[in-house]
């Protein structure tokens, strides 16, 4: 989101909603059209949180729109429920509860599976509405006679009947919807939503229970859909059965993509474009049924060429213009600048370290113990009967030729994959089969051989995601708390930035980082979770000799406060850094020893050079 004065967006939204009735009629919008746009916009707020922010594309939102709508309409027409607002809220709760149950099923899978399952679910709801439940929903007739809201204030009664009068009520609902959505997006949960969108694997690995958060996003979207569905009935004085159709879901998806995903206002803009074009093409152009073809083509072109939709395009344009101006003026950023210019690592004083969970350096004895660790993939044995112990405060290196099973070994230690047999004990606790999220929460994590960053976020935001996992635990629903109020978060992020020497690049998007910087951020992500045991999978891979020297220094300073295990192929650097080395070969431990012992071991030379003696003799 844009960084700005507090409540700027809220204020602008309020002003926009207040002036709309004075401006829009001159642009050819009927009040009823504006109201429909707002209902779609409200529907879309929740959907944008699900799709735009969390990256879950659902084609089944009509299920919740219809559920909320029919529950509210049924209460108001058949059950004699008096309060319109009360009925809308009950409809919303019903939709959210349905969303929870459906989410449990649909979120068992991700990606295209998720999309397919949501489509199937929406179809089922449509058929259920028409057949088994037609006594309650009126079947294909829908439910006529939905009343409009009125509020008795004692001295007077407020009626919101139709047109611009009803607009006041719907606009107020939309405004509250925007305020809530903005709070959610700016909360720690909102930050984790974007992390899930950008890299679910890493979000899991830094210690977030992403299934729980996805379900949260799904329920939020369902709640918004349910409330909007209820409003649709109020708006039309009739709850139409087509609220449940697949076309409704499709229209929502298309409007969101046209307006711009991950913008919150995209769905509103998309709905305005959609409904305006529909009227315009049908009436003014006399295109009749062909209007949908025109919209379809517009949609395909937008997806192909303007991924961010209309709002995204405008934001890009604004940034581009602002960037040009800033470049001309060298304007200072409104962010607090923590450091000016790149800091040379050589002259870098040891930064205040990120505290580990306990003063582990003073503890002694083993922190990690693996016994009989074996991993088989079918017939292939990746790791075989590995016994491995690391003591508190140790700095251990692991080497081995390609295919020795080093990365598999790390994956088992962090519980990314389960061993075929064997046990892992971390800090006196059996962690075998515990899962990567839980293990990270206990203080054991790793940096990846291939960078696993949150590519759409800035350096600081990346580290915030990782630090949040440690500060908030793996799942917490602080939806309405500002991310800035999380205790200790800025300190922890700043310290980590300093440790990996990225302070000057804190607000740079990951996509603009150089490779070496990305590599340091990769280590930073692991560090920001304050691990007491840190595994590093080839931290020096792909670095230039100069970068290697600096990174070795960096690793040495990190190692002061924690236990570390490092895999690398650069033996000169590694041997300079670590106290003891374990050599793996063909999935087995070949040797443990000090760097000197390893350097001179004939067995190790044999392993790396692959039977040189034999070949020379032949």
């Amino acid at each position: 989101m844009l960084k700005q004065r507090p409540f700027l967006i809220e204020t602008l939204t309020a002003i926009g909603l207040i002036v709309a009735p004075f401006i829009l009629p001159h642009l050819g919008f009927a009040p009823n059209t504006v109201n429909r746009i707002l209902v779609w916009g409200l529907f879309g707020l929740g959907f944008d949180i699900l799709f735009g922010f969390t990256g879950l594309l659902s084609f089944g939102q009509s299920a919740f729109y219809g559920t909320g709508g029919f529950v509210a309409a049924y209460l108001l027409t058949r059950a004699g429920f008096g309060s319109v607002l009360g009925a809308l809220v009950i409809g919303m709760i019903a939709a959210a509860a349905t969303g929870y149950l459906i989410g449990l099923i649909a979120l068992r899978r991700t990606g295209i599976y998720f999309a397919m399952i949501t489509v199937a679910i929406a179809e089922v709801f449509y058929f259920v509405e028409f057949n088994p439940l037609s006594d309650f929903t009126g079947g294909e007739n829908g439910l006529p006679g939905v009343p409009t809201p009125s509020f008795n204030l004692g001295f007077t009664t407020l009626h919101f009947t139709n047109g611009w009068s009803l607009y006041q009520f719907i606009a107020l609902c939309y405004f509250i919807g925007v305020v809530i959505a903005l709070r959610i997006v700016r909360s720690p949960v909102g930050a984790i939503f974007s992390a899930i969108r950008d890299n679910p694997l890493r979000a899991t690995a830094v210690g977030h229970n992403i299934h729980g958060y996805k379900l949260t996003a799904f329920v939020i979207a369902a709640a918004y859909a349910g409330f909007a569905g209820g409003l649709l009935g109020v708006l039309q004085a009739f709850m139409p059965p087509d609220a449940f159709t697949f076309d409704t879901s499709g229209q929502l998806v298309m409007q969101t993509a046209i307006g711009g995903r991950a913008t919150l206002f995209g769905p509103l803009v998309g709905a305005a474009v959609w409904l305006f074009l529909q009227d315009f093409l049908q009436a003014a152009m006399g295109l009749g049924a062909a209007w949908k073809l025109v919209l379809g083509v517009v949609f395909v072109l937008l997806v192909c060429f303007l991924r961010g939709g209309i709002v995204g395009g405008l934001v890009d344009l604004y940034r581009w213009l602002a960037g040009k101006r800033a470049a001309a003026e060298q304007a200072p950023s409104d962010q607090p600048v923590t450091a000016n210019g790149p800091v040379s690592l050589a002259a870098h004083s040891p930064p205040a370290s990120v505290p580990t969970r306990a003063a582990r350096t003073s503890a002694s004895g083993p922190i990690l113990q693996a016994t009989g660790l074996t991993k088989r993939y079918g017939g292939l044995v990746a790791n075989s009967d590995i016994d491995f112990t690391v003591n508190h405060g140790e700095l251990r290196g692991i080497i081995g030729p390609n295919g020795a099973g080093k990365s598999t070994f790390f994956k088992m230690l962090t519980c990314e994959i389960a061993p075929t047999s064997g046990r892992i004990t971390f800090d006196g606790r059996d962690i075998t089969g515990l899962g990567v999220t839980h293990v990270c929460q206990l203080g054991l994590t790793k940096s990846y051989q291939v960078n696993q960053l949150f590519a759409g976020l800035t350096v600081r935001q990346n580290l915030v995601i990782a630090a949040l996992a440690q500060l908030r635990g793996k799942f917490r629903l602080d939806l309405f708390r500002s991310i800035n109020s999380v205790k200790g978060l800025p300190e922890q992020v700043d310290r980590t930035l300093e440790m990996v020497n990225l302070t000057a690049r804190a607000d740079t998007p990951v996509s603009e980082l150089a490779y070496g910087e990305k590599r340091r951020l990769e280590i930073g992500l692991a560090l920001a979770t304050s691990p007491s045991l840190l595994l590093l999978d080839e931290p020096l891979a792909g670095m230039s000799p100069r970068e290697r020297v600096e990174t070795v220094k960096l690793l040495r300073s990190i190692a002061r406060d924690r236990t570390m295990i490092i895999i690398d192929h650069d033996m000169d650097s590694l041997f300079e850094l670590v106290e003891r080395v374990t050599v793996l070969q063909e999935g087995r431990v070949l040797l443990h020893g000090t760097p000197d012992e390893i350097r001179t071991s004939p067995a190790v030379q044999e392993a790396y050079l692959g039977g040189v003696h034999g070949e020379i003799a032949a």
Binding site: G111, I112, N131
Partner: protein, 291 residues
């Protein structure tokens, strides 16, 4: 209530529908398996197959010509779609692929609606397959019986292509690991194009073969697409045998439930899908790893 002839007749209906679903789903699943793209326009391909065959039938009065024209037209459409649009989406997120194929599907449906209007069109079955066949214990529409045979032959042909040809071997290898196939020096993008054409053709063929059974409307592919999704989820994404098994299961569930109450057909279908997701999240014959 339930009578034996009625049940058997519904089982036959289920077989016919199941075979058809199996064919359409195989097209969807091999495209997804190889290219990693879920084609939401697949239902529209099915529909266009019917309409292309209808046009050919208008000119030639020959059902065979209609089948050939329907299949070939949709294959060419698939190839064109892959060349012009889909190939630019291989490196974009799944959501974008879903959005663009969804949009294309709507465009196709609306174009057909523009040309042929929303009124339903009829393609009669070939003269020799009209009427009713006496199966000894019951009477059954001849063409529906024939559909089972025709689709079985088509599935057999697809099987031979996939499992007995060089191309099929590449496609199956591509489903396992398309990056590896590429690095073995096979032009994987050309294979993608061919696979997209074959997958689309499967839908188009099914569309024209099914046309005499139902009346042809621009929206005929929409419901089929949803059923196809359920089939693929049940059978396992990327699995050709899974598509056949899932298709038959889905076809029987829909038909048998319809005998009691058509309104519950989708509910039962969905219940079956849920059950599979809970017990075997990767589908009955799916392979772990593909997402």
């Amino acid at each position: 209530m339930i009578s034996w002839p009625n049940l058997v007749s519904q089982l036959f209906n289920g077989l016919a529908l199941g075979a058809l679903l199996a064919l359409i789903s195989s097209g969807l699943t091999i495209i997804y398996g190889t290219l990693g793209v879920l084609n939401l326009a697949h239902g529209a391909m099915f529909m266009i197959g019917g309409y292309a065959g209808y046009v050919a039938y208008q000119y030639t009065e020959s059902f065979i010509a209609a089948v050939v024209a329907g299949s070939l037209f949709v294959m060419l459409l698939g190839v064109a779609m892959e060349r012009l649009i889909i190939r630019h989406f291989y490196h974009r997120p799944h959501e974008d692929q879903l959005l663009v194929t969804f949009g294309l599907g709507i465009c196709f449906v609306e174009i057909v609606r523009l040309i042929f209007s929303s009124q339903s069109q009829v393609v009669p079955p070939p003269p020799m397959l009209q009427g009713i066949t006496n199966l000894g214990f019951m009477f059954y529409p001849t063409y529906r019986l024939a559909v089972v045979g025709i689709v079985a032959v088509a599935l057999g042909a697809l099987f031979l292509i996939l499992y007995r040809t060089r191309l099929g071997m590449i496609v199956r290898a591509g489903i396992e690991d398309s990056v590896m196939v590429d690095s073995l020096g096979i032009n994987v993008y050309r294979v993608f194009m061919v696979v997209f054409g074959i997958g689309a053709m499967a839908a188009g063929f099914a569309g024209i073969v099914n046309a005499p059974v139902v009346s042809l409307t621009p929206g005929v592919g929409d419901d089929i697409l949803v059923e196809t999704f359920v089939v693929v989820v049940i059978g396992g994404v990327g699995s050709f045998p899974g598509a056949i098994l899932g298709g038959l299961i889905a076809g029987e569930i829909i038909s048998v439930t319809s005998m009691f109450n058509p309104g519950y057909a989708y509910v039962m279908l969905f219940a079956a899908m849920t059950l599979v997701l809970v017990v075997r999240p990767h589908g009955l014959l799916g392979v772990q790893g593909r997402e």
